[in-house]
């Protein structure tokens, strides 16, 4: 596997008497989107700030591109904070050029790239306008342009789609996918489990600074599976007789719901169904949505241990 773009190992951060991040470890690789989930105040933003060297951990170790975080990497990083804005009385193109220059680009390169991205995002007409004159959607597009202006190898976005209308949200999701396909490592904080499910390769759920879940979306969902499989087709057995992998069977609309016995797997059920002569048209492992998993995990569901 490639060297991780970000490697966080046993990191702690304390504000006053409160540990806002406790013994947190995870990594993110190039070409991967890590969904960073957790309730408000769970330590997500503090963790992102530590990766960006805005604040430093009390204990533990963080590496960005194999080195300690710092100004040396600012050319390779893009950051879209949750609390974000633009200089109100400055032309958008001037703000973007300045942000590009702060990220190590020459002023001309930053200006040209900003114009190209603005054209791509249908924002070119607003280049000479001041931020105060822009709509909220235009603001958000300009902020995202500022984040990806330098073609970052590590993109950290905190609630990127919050407050966006569906059209702009879709467009910006496309931008995040594009960055991933380009090979960037992406850390995306979100409260929207739908976004996490569709955009993220792996997810990290934290609460009160502690890691609760960490793995691919499939691993996490499988861990929380109730052991049920929904099957549709012809000739499906309607009782558990002759099915060693099943403890119970129910009819559910046009399908049959099989409850997998402890220690057995859905794969074994599939083989038994095939052997019984049934014609399987649809075979789906029933797992809760990430929304449900989120709630169950924060409530202390022991199944989280398997993917902690």
């Amino acid at each position: 596997m490639s060297q991780p773009a970000v490697d966080v190992r046993g990191v702690w951060k304390r504000y006053g008497d409160t540990d806002v991040v406790s013994d947190l470890s995870f990594d993110v690789h190039p070409g991967e989107v890590l969904g960073f989930l957790g309730p408000n105040g769970s330590g997500k933003t503090t963790t992102m700030r530590m990766i960006l060297d805005i604040v430093r951990p009390a204990r533990g170790h963080i590496e960005v591109f194999g080195e300690a975080p710092g100004v040396e990497h600012q050319e390779r990083v893009g950051y879209l904070p949750e609390d974000r804005g633009l200089y109100r009385d400055v032309k958008i193109i001037d703000t973007l050029t300045y942000f590009g220059a702060l990220r190590g680009m020459s002023r001309k390169a930053a200006h040209d790239k900003a114009m190209a991205l603005m054209t791509e995002m249908e924002l070119a007409d607003a280049a000479e306008k001041k931020a105060a004159e822009l709509s909220r959607g235009m603001h958000q597009k300009a902020q995202l342009i500022a984040t990806i202006l330098n073609d970052p190898e590590l993109l950290i976005v905190d609630e990127p789609f919050q407050g966006l209308d569906p059209v702009n949200a879709d467009m910006l999701k496309g931008v995040v996918r594009g960055q991933k396909e380009r090979g960037a490592a992406v850390i995306m904080s979100t409260h929207d489990m739908g976004d996490a499910q569709t955009l993220c390769d792996r997810i990290l759920l934290i609460d009160k600074g502690h890691r609760l879940l960490y793995g691919t979306v499939d691993q996490v969902r499988a861990a929380f599976s109730d052991g049920a499989v929904e099957v549709s087709g012809a000739g499906l057995p309607e009782s558990a007789d002759g099915l060693d992998s099943v403890t119970d069977v129910h009819d559910v609309n046009d399908a049959v719901r099989y409850l997998i016995a402890d220690g057995r797997t859905p794969q074994e059920l599939f083989r038994e169904l095939a052997a019984s002569g049934a014609e399987v048209e649809h075979f789906a492992v029933q797992a809760p949505s990430l929304d449900e998993i989120f709630i169950r995990t924060v409530a202390g569901d022991p199944r989280a241990e398997a993917v902690r």
């Binding site: 710092g70 100004v71 600012q74 050319e75 950051y79 974000r84 200089y87 300045y98 942000f99 902020q143």
Partner: protein
């Protein structure tokens, strides 16, 4: 893309921020107006001065003019006389009143019977409202009348002519330096007024420039830009860039003002002959600029910390207002500076960092030479304070600037100053 050396990276980023802050500030309407206000003010003042020097005011240069009509009801002998510029004639009250009514004269004086007892003379005039030229003319006429009456009383008393002349002309004091050079009253006034003007210029600029720094910090905080910026540039070079860029804008402003003063002073000298040649000492100027820079760093650091702590610009402006009082303190006790430059009050104000710039600029302005010991001591304390304030401010800035809408507690501030991150 390759990483860059941390040190040169920081320097480049500091330069970028400094350039942006400088250009943004010098293009602001408020800055341009503030910078040009002084030169424009001087030009207007000189224009007004030239206008009045060539207008109808020429006739009121201290000489009495026209006819002074006196109704003498006392037993003092007031003689009539006539000069090329003015004449004094005595008449009856009836005649004087008639001539006033007809407009032949604009006023007359009555020396009453009881004049010897109370010395009061009455001026009678038409009530035609305020007229500054008439007021000046009346003042000159009264001076002449006093002269004539005193002359009469002294002659009555048998005082010799030479003594009368001396009494009436009074005693004048001629001020000279130990080298024998004459010092005019205008020189003495200039010795106090000019330094005060320069102190005011420097202090206004320190506060304006520090105010821009405060505004820059609160603006980035209020616009929610600061976190984006801090992800690209660490807090210390960000602060350094702001301080340098805005300090440069302040120096530009002071430069324009000092240059204006340098151009205006010779012109003013030629307008006011008594003012004499005014020279600006280069050492003084360098010292003044040093106090300006250190004063700006000290105040700027505090202003930046206030900007980071305050939830919004309005609160930040309120907090910073208290600093204005500290800076103005030496002006409030200015008389102590004039009476005794070695007073403990002066010493305390010169060494207390927040009053040092104002106090030392006043001291430099009014002292005969440069008090090098005090200069050295005050520069040391001010430099130390500026360094410590900048250091503490950077830490407070870093720890509190992202606390949107929240005012940190004193404990948090102390913890921020003590903690590297």
């Amino acid at each position: 893309m390759s990483g860059q050396n941390g040190g040169s990276g920081r320097a480049r980023l500091t330069g970028l921020v400094a350039r942006r802050e400088y250009l943004r500030t010098v293009r602001r309407r408020g800055y341009i107006f503030g910078t040009l206000l002084l030169p424009i003010g001087i030009a207007v003042l000189m224009g007004v001065s030239v206008f009045f020097s060539t207008s109808g005011f020429e006739g009121t240069d201290g000489e009495a003019s026209g006819t002074i009509v006196v109704v003498n009801e006392s037993d003092v002998t007031i003689n009539e006389f006539q000069t090329a510029l003015a004449s004094l004639e005595t008449t009856t009250e009836q005649d004087a009143a008639a001539r006033l009514q007809s407009g032949e004269i604009s006023e007359y004086y009555v020396v009453p019977a009881g004049f010897r007892e109370d010395g009061v003379v009455t001026r009678v005039e038409t009530g035609s409202g305020f007229d500054i030229s008439r007021l000046e003319g009346a003042e000159n006429n009264e001076a002449l009348l006093r002269y004539v009456v005193r002359d009469a009383l002294l002659r009555e008393a048998g005082v010799p002519d030479e003594a009368i002349a001396r009494v009436l002309q009074g005693v004048s004091v001629n001020v000279v330096t130990v080298e024998g050079e004459e010092v005019s009253g205008a020189d003495i006034a200039a010795g106090i007024a000019l330094p005060m003007v320069f102190v005011a210029i420097f202090m206004i600029s320190i506060f304006m420039t520090s105010g821009y720094l405060l505004q820059s910090v609160t603006e980035e905080k209020e616009n929610r830009v600061v976190e984006i910026v801090l992800s690209s540039i660490p807090a210390t070079p960000l602060m350094a860039g702001k301080v340098l860029g805005l300090g440069g804008a302040g120096l530009t402003q002071v430069g324009v003002w000092v240059l204006s003063a340098l151009v205006a002073i010779p012109l003013l000298s030629s307008q006011v002959p008594d003012l004499g040649p005014i020279e600006l000492d280069l050492t003084m100027l360098v010292l003044a600029l040093t106090y300006f820079i250190l004063g700006y760093l000290a105040y700027g650091a505090i202003f930046a910390a206030i900007g980071a702590i305050a939830p919004g610009n309005r609160e930040a402006q309120q907090y910073s207002g208290f600093l204005g009082f500290a800076a103005a303190m030496p002006f409030i006790v200015f008389s102590v500076f004039l009476s005794d430059l070695s007073s403990p009050v002066v010493l305390a104000l010169a060494l207390f960092p927040l009053t040092t710039p104002t106090a030392m600029l006043i001291v430099l302005g009014i002292s005969d030479g440069i008090p090098w010991t005090l200069v050295g001591a005050s520069l040391t304390t001010l430099s130390l304070f500026a360094v410590l304030a900048t250091f503490a401010s950077a830490r407070i800035f870093r720890a509190t600037v992202m606390l949107y809408g929240v005012r940190p507690s004193l404990q948090q501030l102390v913890a921020a100053v003590r903690s590297p991150r």
